[in-house]
């Protein structure tokens, strides 16, 4: 039996950015699947983080997410990204129903001095796994989305970031009086990602 001393792996800023942006891609897919934004049949199973993860096969969505993660990776490397939010809205009324927040804290020392950090890859994977499991289990408390929905992604960046070509400036698309639940977080020692999901209070006297 191998002993449990975790071997630490070296993580660079670029590597960490890759891990976080990849995480976001899989998380977005998982949310779209679990919340029924796209039909189940349009997803395929792959193995990732030691779990069966679902990825969309829809070309449009695939491209959108791929471009997204590339851009996020870019921002992460320069330490300009503060938060990414996946917003789920009603297709008909455009009302915001859910917001999946992923807030990012970047280690300044790494940014400035270009040092690397050490952490076991396995441990990072375990932390991410925990978040993915929570996303899948969140139907326990999330309201049923029984209408067609669309999603969008908001990025909170530093003020001095130029808006890339395919992005536009937007309002935060907040939910009024949201219910909020904090989920697990993960840390690459360079980027720390906290997760929060907020959703609309479903009232009895609303249609």
């Amino acid at each position: 039996m191998a002993s449990r001393t975790a071997t630490k792996d070296i993580i660079t800023l670029r590597g960490s950015a890759a891990i976080v942006s990849e995480f976001f891609g899989y998380a977005a897919n998982s949310i779209l699947y679990n919340r029924g934004v796209y039909p189940e049949e349009t997803f395929a199973k792959v193995k990732k983080y030691g779990l069966p993860m679902l990825l969309t096969q829809d070309e449009g969505v695939k491209t959108f997410i791929a471009n997204l993660t590339a851009q996020l990776s870019d921002w992460l490397e320069s330490g300009k990204l503060q938060r990414v939010v996946l917003v789920i809205m009603s297709k008909v009324t455009n009302e915001v129903l859910e917001r999946w927040n992923f807030s990012i804290e970047t280690d300044n020392e790494v940014l400035e001095k270009g040092v690397a950090r050490e952490k076991s890859d396995k441990e990072i994977m375990r932390e991410i796994q925990a978040i993915m499991r929570q996303i899948a289990s969140s139907i326990t408390y999330l309201p049923c989305l029984d209408e067609p929905c669309v999603f969008d992604v908001l990025a909170y960046t530093d003020k001095d970031v130029a808006v890339p070509f395919t992005w536009i400036e937007s309002d935060p698309k907040l939910i009024a009086n949201p219910q909020m639940v904090k989920l697990h977080s993960f840390n690459t020692k360079i980027h720390k990602v906290d997760t929060l999901v907020s959703y609309k209070n479903d009232e009895w006297d609303e249609e």
């Binding site: 039909p39 189940e40 008909v92 927040n101 289990s137 326990t140 408390y141 049923c144 029984d146 006297d205």
Partner: protein, 386 residues
């Protein structure tokens, strides 16, 4: 663009605060019945903690009693309100739902209290209580007919959508179609929602062939994804009809108490509804794959004795001793303390309020079972639809 935001939005505030969210919801997720309207996680976590914490449990019973009192003591001009508060509270406090929570009992009492009141006939909240009640019953059709006959909730789209989807799940496609059309012709609100649901329904009914028995086996073993149940097949465009069926089937499984007779019983229950009747032999091989509905599992306790028709025991020669005549009923001994409760219990309507107040799990369970089978049992027969 230059404005400095002094006040943070609630999410940002929470995100950066030290406050966390307990993870009881995740640890006990199998014990939580998802609600259509979602849950408050803080209340959920507390409720789950109370399963092991004795003090919390006590305060739970105490709170339930107080909520019921609030209903009685309400003096304002919207008597439905305290009922809704109570229902919401029961849903949060008893995450698994279930027969001992008293949820079905309170739905029933609430609807029965106001069914004749004109002011609530078009009230959306009141209608929603009816619809949640319907979801918990073995056969909701009788409830929908009742609502239609008594003109309750006829201006709201969700009535027609729920009714039609229920009929669809019973494979009564023509009826479902009629219901949608009726709702549209009455201009139920919001009309766009009704029309969208109708469109989806038409899409499903076009591509639906007769299912074969083979399909059913596959679907029985198909992994049930955690997120399908509540969506009722609406948001999922069903390209493959087989998955359509598995989902509908799963939905039927999950509509608590819906009878899921797998085989044709000689004493077939008149209320039994099913996609297709399988032969007995096939049922045997399949019987281990499904748990069966609550009613099925409980049938030893509920089955009414009937004539044994299948086997005949050859009559033995020789006389049969008489004396099998039913003598006077044996008197059931009743404790003094219980004598009073027993008396009240036999008094029709008022009794269930008492049940709720006592919060006695066993009594609630019994009443819940009776209501599931016959949701309108406490209503005066005169108002029931013919």
């Amino acid at each position: 663009m230059e404005n400095v935001e002094i006040s943070l939005d609630p999410e940002t505030e929470f995100l950066y605060s030290k406050e966390g969210t307990g993870n009881e919801w995740e640890l006990f997720k199998e014990n939580v019945r998802p609600l259509k309207r979602g849950r408050n996680v803080r209340l959920l976590n507390d409720a789950l903690k109370s399963q092991t914490d004795h003090l919390l449990k006590k305060s739970l019973l105490h709170n339930r009693r107080k909520m019921v009192e609030a209903i009685d003591e309400y003096k304002g001009d919207d008597p439905l309100k305290p009922w809704l508060e109570c229902i919401k509270w029961v849903q949060e406090a008893f995450p698994p739902g279930g027969d001992c929570s008293g949820l079905v009992v309170i739905y029933e009492q609430c609807v029965r209290t106001f069914w004749h009141e004109d002011r609530y006939k078009d009230d959306l909240r009141y209608l929603k209580v009816w619809l949640e009640y319907a979801e918990n019953c073995a056969d909701a059709e009788v409830i929908y007919s009742f609502l239609e006959a008594n003109k309750i909730g006829q201006t709201h789209s969700i009535f027609f959508i729920s009714y039609a989807l229920h009929m669809e799940s019973k494979n009564k496609i023509k009826t479902a179609n009629e219901i949608f059309n009726m709702g549209i012709s009455r201009d139920a609100q919001p009309i766009e929602k009704l029309k969208a649901a109708y469109k989806k329904f038409l899409g499903r009914s076009m591509g639906r062939p007769k299912p074969t028995d083979e399909d059913l086996t596959e679907n029985r073993l198909a992994a049930r994804s955690f997120g399908t149940v509540l969506a009722r097949g609406e948001t999922r465009n069903q390209i493959m009809e087989s998955s359509d069926f598995s989902r509908k089937k799963m939905k039927q499984d999950r509509a608590y108490g819906t009878p899921l007779n797998i085989y044709k019983d000689t004493n077939a229950n008149a209320n039994a509804t099913l996609f297709h009747q399988l032969e007995l032999s096939e049922a045997d091989s399949r019987s281990w794959y499904t748990l069966g509905s609550r009613k099925e599992r409980n049938k030893e306790n509920n089955a009414i004795p009937t004539k044994w028709t299948s086997n005949k025991i050859p009559r033995r020669a020789g006389h049969i001793t008489g004396g099998a005549t039913a003598s006077a009923c044996i008197d059931v001994f009743v404790d003094e303390e219980c004598a009073e409760n027993y008396k009240v219990h036999s008094e029709g309507g008022k009794s269930s309020t008492l049940l709720l107040r006592q919060g006695d799990g066993q009594n609630l369970k019994k009443e819940t079972e009776l209501l599931r089978e016959n949701p309108l049992r406490n209503f005066p027969p005169i108002c029931l639809p013919r």
